[in-house]
């Protein structure tokens, strides 16, 4: 089976400071990988590099996405090829409605795949169906994208967009941050509904709490730009119990 994503010895830096210091990670279809780690360990950098943020420079290593060189693609081509990033801080775009924004996104993806744009009625029906996954009110479609949305609404909107774009690889960057327990449950349900044997997910989080709802197949612990431990879902529980200091001590001993 061809992996969805294969990261080999990935090094990346920003303004000359190396943040990622040799990441290796392979995701097979159907797998959900959790990446955990303390603040500043490089979790969000990994997400940013995979999505193609230009302020990061990849200095070493390869990333293969569905057999193609991911690092060679523009951010929009990565998206069109099926990579989706749920932002930790979704951006507000004044005056651009959520519906109009999604129409541009979905049709750009369809054009990339040689498909014609969706008919307006068809598109509206699809949006309403997918919004239900995250219990979003259709009134949000006409509001400016993320503008005046609460923290929870923004995160739900991210998962709604994911449902519209049907990615083969979704990266959820601290999607749980700032959510209360009800919102967390709704978001997690929305994500779980999109798990299939064909797609993969990377769930980046600081806390184990989210992983009670989105149960991972593999848990990685990132510290100081490297994956210092990999295990099953129980690793998250151990981390929760013993705290990140445990990892830091152990890793520095190993190092």
């Amino acid at each position: 089976m061809t992996p969805i994503l294969e990261i080999t010895n990935l090094h990346a830096s920003i303004d000359g400071t190396e943040i990622l210091k040799g990441i290796n990670l392979t995701i097979q279809p159907g797998e959900v990988h959790a990446v955990m780690g303390p603040n500043g360990s490089g979790k969000s950098t990994l997400a940013s590099v995979l999505a193609g943020r230009e302020e990061y420079t990849v200095t070493e290593g390869t990333v293969v996405f569905h057999g193609h060189d991911l690092l060679d693609m523009s951010p929009e081509d990565r998206a069109r090829e099926g990579l989706f990033l749920a932002f930790q801080y979704p951006v507000e775009i004044p005056g651009v409605s959520t519906a109009n924004f999604l129409k541009s996104a979905v049709n750009a993806q369809r054009a990339h795949r040689g498909l014609s744009p969706l008919e307006p009625a068809e598109f509206l029906a699809l949006m309403k169906e997918r919004m239900a996954l995250v219990e979003m009110n259709p009134a949000f479609l006409q509001r400016s994208l993320n503008e005046g949305f609460s923290g929870g609404e923004k995160k739900r909107n991210e998962i709604f967009q994911m449902a519209m774009l049907e990615p083969t690889l979704a990266i959820l960057d601290e999607t749980d941050s700032g959510l209360d327990i009800d919102a967390l449950r709704i978001v997690a349900n929305g994500v779980n509904a999109q798990r299939t044997p064909h797609n993969g997910m990377i769930v980046i989080t600081h806390y184990q709490r989210l992983l009670n709802y989105i149960v991972p197949d593999v848990v990685h612990v990132l510290w100081n730009g490297r994956i210092v431990r990999t295990g099953g879902k129980d690793l998250a529980l151990t981390l929760e119990e013993r705290g990140y200091d445990w990892i830091k001590t152990e890793s520095s001993v190993e190092a």
């Binding site: 420079t57 523009s74 651009v96 750009a108």
Partner: protein
Amino acid sequence: MSEVPDSQHVLDDVVQREYQYGFSSDIEQELLEKGLSEDTVRFISAKKQEPEWMLEWRLEAFRTWQRMKEPTWPNVTYPVIDFQDIIYWAAPKKKEGPASLDEVDPELLATFEKLGIPLDEQKMLTGVAVDAVLDSVSVKTTFQEALKKVGVIFCPMSEAIQEHPDLVRRYLGSVVPVGDNFYAALNSAVFSDGSFVYIPKGVRCPMELSTYFRINARNTGQFERTLIIADEGSYVSYLEGCTAPQRDENQLHAAVVELVAHQDAEIKYSTVQNWYPGDAEGKGGIYNFVTKRGICEGARSKISWTQVETGSAVTWKYPSCVLKGDHSIGEFYSVAVTNHYQQADTGTKMIHIGKNTRSRIVSKGISAGRSQNSYRGLVRMNATATNGWNYSQCDSLLIGDQCGAHTFPYLETANSTATVEHEATTSKIGEDMLFYCNQRGIDTEAAVALIVNGYARDVINQLPMEFAVEAQKLLAISLEGSVG
């Protein structure tokens, strides 16, 4: 390594875009020699077979103009204009004034067809009557008969002077006096045509009225004059559009527009200004020095200006409202895009005189390339403007770090019950915004168009439906470029 198209690249490419109305037409024309004197004014008046009072009015304007100085306060720079090096009269040879379609030069019809303004009523957008002005004269006004049935007068100004002298004498220069400013005086002396609209009492004009201005001849100035009168309880929506051929030399456009709204009347005036802006090096383009003013004469009257400004090398324009009637309302909605070396100094004046008068200003400036974009606005609450209310929102969007955005609001209050509120912000199209769009599969060029249209939405929404779509396209084109 990843090859990420950066926004700067896209914005640099903006410079490459082409002006799509830059063609010129080969129409046989009658041209007056360059230069301006009393004789020029007499020639124009004679050509129009104007009555004596009109000639006198023009001559007074000319003499006033001779005593005036060109204004230097706007935040724009351009070479000294030689007013003797301009042609003040250019007209298609075949026919003067309006004609039945059969009599119109086919080349001329083709010109307007190419501009997307078919003059054949069969082909036109339903519900829009058009007055087409080429250089100095009106060539065709459509749907005149249909409008006449409800008493609406929509005709070239030259025709109005002949046919409706009482109305013209009463209102011409009543809102923008002859000596109002340098360019208004010049226009009053040499204006050649323009549109005249009169909506009788209680009539809601059954269709959108529209004037399309086209400069074609070389070295000519365009000086049109528009006068719209909405009598008690009437309503009219009026739209003007403008384009010019791509030429290396600068051409002068100095128009005057006067609006009069009587009691309970409403005038909605929309402009999509797309004069040739000059090339990427700042060569050529139209100098657009325009005086537009409306008076809300009667109680509960309303005047609303909406403008989408994308063209012209230099723009100097402040569509204004004098709110004289109690409870009258003035509005100004503007999107001004400047690119390359364009300069725009535009805004509005809201003069509150009557009680309970209200005004709203929404101005969205977008600067790109090496352009300079200024908002200049005056809100004045006179001592008589009890409970006057104004709200202004002036936003600037900068694209690239070679351009400038300037905001000059003047807020003068002489009444303790009046409220004036002004807010302004400056922002850029953030990298984070573009990246967010990219991550959803939208390329940078499309993202810029999406974001700019979102930014201008409050203004675009004010335009009549058919033109809103046009305006959106125009904004996208103005800032378009391909990702290299």
